[in-house]
């Protein structure tokens, strides 16, 4: 594969890989390291890419494997600062609604974090990498049906969590 083309493919996927790493590893520093390692791994192993799968599928498989290895090897004592989201410019206008939105977003963060591994993987690939289910199925080497089920269970947990705390009553 030509270097320019490969470089472009890397750039196209860079943001999504970083977001995925950040949401999985919960640390900006770790996410930066992971992203760098993932692209270096891909670059170093580019000759092993056999065109049987799409490049992005291959790249995200490397990414997930690397992230899971990092998760195993590293003590997960960081906490991604929820206030980053909560302090970002809110779409709400009144102080009360701003506060409510902060509370809602904090809860969502917590619920997403607490998802089981497979559900979280599907959820993040769906929302942060913006992949359709069939693509997620390719990356995770699972059936489309299984991926849809994981997505449903993840969304159901989120729904139940928000309903439990009455955060949807608006």
């Amino acid at each position: 594969m030509e270097n320019d083309k490969l470089n472009q493919l890397f750039q196209d996927n860079y943001k999504k890989i970083f977001l995925l790493s950040l949401k999985m590893l919960k640390s900006e520093e770790d996410a930066e390291d992971a992203t760098q390692d993932i692209f270096m791994k891909a670059f170093q192993n580019i000759e092993k890419f056999r065109y049987e799968a799409k490049f992005s599928t291959w790249l995200y498989r490397i990414a997930l494997n690397h992230i899971y290895t990092m998760q195993k090897n590293k003590a997960k004592n960081y906490h991604y600062d929820l206030s980053q989201v909560a302090n970002s410019q809110s779409s709400s206008t009144t102080p009360e609604s701003v506060l409510r939105e902060k509370e809602l977003f904090s809860k969502l963060e917590e619920l997403i974090d607490s998802l089981p591994r497979r559900q979280k993987e599907v959820f993040l690939l769906r929302y942060y990498a913006e992949f359709p289910f069939h693509k997620i199925a390719e990356i995770c080497k699972r059936s489309v049906g299984a991926v849809k089920s994981s997505y449903f269970f993840a969304m159901q947990k989120i729904k139940n969590g928000l309903e439990k705390d009455r955060l949807l009553d608006f």
Binding site: S90, S91, Y151, M155, K159, L168
Partner: protein
């Protein structure tokens, strides 16, 4: 009436559903308030989730994509250097070393080693072979003797005379050679 499952409602909203199922659910929703309410709940969940994701993405500082091209160039230079100079040099050196080792460990057959030495004679008998140093004059004499005599087990090849002791004894006095 059988209601639409939550999973199907969710898939209906995401659009990842077959046309047949889409039509079935649409048809059902028209006449079922309970399912419409459930659909509205899921819509709310999706909207809230998507809003959160959107805000979250906005809040995340994405590092510059600079390291890849930098390390790329480094790697590329590194690899080019290896590929075009160091690797072939190592490969050549390895071949030379292996050839020398091979020659040391597995020497060539003895007769080949004598190729080109016109002043030697190899006498072969049942116990092995012996090499004799002879001068050019004597070698020429033997050559002529072989040519002029029928000696079925004496041959001259690559300037080396191969013969049995008994055959050559018929041609010359061996003591002269020693």
């Amino acid at each position: 009436m059988r209601h639409i499952s939550d999973k199907d409602l969710l898939m209906f909203l995401t659009g990842d559903i077959s046309t047949k199922d889409y039509e079935r659910i649409s048809h059902h929703l028209k006449g079922c308030k309970k399912c419409r309410d459930a659909l509205a709940e899921w819509q709310k969940i999706i909207r809230v989730t998507e809003n959160y994701i959107e805000e979250d993405k906005k809040s995340i500082r994405i590092p510059e994509f600079t390291w890849v091209s930098q390390s790329w160039q480094q790697e590329e230079g590194h690899f080019s250097w290896l590929r075009y100079w160091l690797k072939p040099a190592i490969a050549t050196a390895a071949v030379v070393v292996l050839t020398i080792l091979g020659l040391l460990i597995f020497p060539q057959p003895q007769e080949e080693n004598f190729a080109g030495y016109s002043n030697r004679i190899v006498l072969v008998d049942d116990y092995g072979y012996e090499v004799y140093e002879i001068d050019n004059e004597f070698f020429t004499y033997l050559e002529e003797a072989i040519l002029n005599t029928i000696c079925h087990d004496t041959i001259l090849r690559n300037d080396i005379l191969y013969s049995s002791s008994s055959s050559i004894a018929e041609l010359v006095d061996l003591e002269v050679m020693q």
